[in-house]
């Protein structure tokens, strides 16, 4: 029973009702907390987690209708399952509760069998919803998940100004051969943890992982004030973290990891592509191709971070860099000027 036990908040101003409902819910094996009016109920909901709210309508200070309205307006609490338990008169009041988002309405005194069925159904729905959300978060960034939950899923994109960052591990194939598959998975997991930290801490989101490479967006799905600066700062932090990781690896005689990073800035179209059944959040546009080319070019140029002219201009001299002149990339009609970010820390050892 213990693992099935959920936290239920009962909001009712009448002591007899509170006692009776709390007894009924406890008999079903759940833990109960009590609130004497709507205001106290909202305070409790905002400060601790609950799985379900049993809500009375007629209450002093803040009544049940107002509680439903406030829950609906609160992004953190809008999905809290609510069962209204009341002896309020009139069908219009019941309809009003349902319209305000209540999952169900039970007349008082509440029948124990009905209560059990309704609570069970509400908790099961919540469990499935939580599971679904956790699943979604595992495959897309939490920003994309929130965007999807709030605005709904629709194929198609919108044009935004963003910076795109590509990175991958140099000589990864040789590394896999020397370390074996299990060890490589461990290595990749550590590597990705570090990279996600660096990117996330500068407001970027990783939206693609391919083997040892990744693509991150700065400025989508949420706008960012200085996307170019954030992307380059994230790149520098990635190098710094790899430097620290290599330090640990060298202590156990493991070869150092080396990564290359390319950053390009400009207008992209970001959104969901794919089919109604299977889609991905991504970003399409010239900066995406250019960032990928720049990342590949780090091998040729022998430097860790390469950026395009738009990123360089946006940085406005805030980061030391040097022009590498114009380079012709595959798929680009004209040669483009590229810049190497001067990396101070010894991230490029080995």
């Amino acid at each position: 029973m213990a693992e099935d036990s959920s936290r239920v908040l009962i909001a009712d101003d009448n002591k007899v009702n509170r006692l009776l409902l709390s007894r009924s819910v406890e008999l079903l094996g759940h833990r109960v907390m009590l609130a004497e009016n709507g205001r106290i109920a909202l305070e409790k909901l905002q400060s601790e987690p609950f799985d379900l709210l049993l809500l009375d309508i007629e209450m002093p200070e803040v009544d049940g209708f107002a509680v439903l309205e406030q829950l609906k307006a609160d992004p953190q609490l809008r999905e809290m399952p609510v069962i209204v338990t009341s002896s309020v008169e009139g069908l219009d009041n019941v309809v009003r509760c349902i319209n305000l988002g209540a999952e169900d309405y039970l007349h008082k005194p509440v029948n124990q069998v009905l209560l059990k069925a309704r609570i069970g159904a509400s908790l099961e729905k919540k469990r499935l919803r939580d599971q679904q959300k956790a699943m979604v978060r595992r495959f897309v960034t939490s920003e994309v998940a929130d965007d999807m939950l709030q605005s709904g899923f629709a194929l198609g994109g919108k044009r935004i100004h963003a910076s795109v960052l590509f990175s991958d591990i140099r000589g990864f194939t040789a590394l896999v051969e020397s370390e074996g598959p299990e060890e490589t998975i461990d290595l990749l997991n550590t590597y990705y943890t570090l990279m996600f930290d660096a990117i996330g801490s500068h407001g970027g989101v990783v939206n693609l992982i391919i083997g040892d490479g990744l693509m991150a967006l700065f400025g989508a799905p949420l706008p960012l004030d200085d996307c170019a600066g954030s992307a380059v700062a994230a790149g520098l932090e990635m190098l710094e973290l790899i430097g620290q990781f290599n330090h640990e690896r060298s202590a156990v005689n493991k070869p150092a990891l080396r990564i290359g990073i390319g950053v390009a800035t400009g207008d992209v179209v970001a959104g969901y592509t794919g089919t109604q059944q299977r889609a991905t959040y991504t970003c399409i546009g010239d900066p995406v191709n250019l960032a990928a080319r720049l990342e590949a070019h780090t091998k040729v140029a022998g430097c860790a971070i390469l950026i395009d002219d738009a990123t360089q201009r946006a940085l406005d001299g805030s980061v030391p860099m040097q022009s590498l002149g114009e380079v012709s990339f595959k798929g680009k009609a004209a040669a483009v000027e590229i810049f190497a970010v001067v990396v101070e820390q010894p991230a490029e050892q080995a």
């Binding site: 007899v16 006692l19 007894r23 007629e58 002896s87 008169e89």
Partner: protein, 115 residues
């Protein structure tokens, strides 16, 4: 005992689903809280506060229903639906009847609780 005061079937079901010991506690709570609810109703009438009057009547109705106090429930519900009467003497007379019915219900619930 007058079976028209408390519906035995409702009371028996309450006891069966929540336990005799718990029902005894619930009756005690109702007997403790009841006078306060009646006083609230009187105060709301004196003040002419319709919202407060309706809410207090609603609370009494709800508790009456829980215990199967049929007449008490009906009288309280009437107040809840009708609200304050333009002629306050009619409400005062109604309140006296409600209080008398509450006293009967409380006495009978106490007897059932011990029986």
């Amino acid at each position: 005992m007058d079976e028209s005061v408390i519906d035995r079937a409702v009371y028996a079901e309450l006891r069966a689903t929540t336990g005799a010991e718990f029902v005894a506690e619930l009756v005690d709570t109702f007997v403790e809280e009841g006078p306060g609810m009646l006083a609230e109703l009187r105060a709301a009438r004196a003040e002419g506060n319709a919202e407060r009057f309706r809410r207090a009547a609603h609370s009494l109705k709800s508790n009456g229903r829980t215990f199967g106090a049929v007449k008490l429930t009906a009288l309280a519900r009437e107040f809840e639906l009708k609200g304050l009467d333009a002629d306050s003497t009619r409400d005062v007379a109604g309140l006296a009847a409600l209080e008398a019915e509450y006293a009967r219900a409380a006495a009978e619930l106490k007897a059932l609780r011990n029986g």
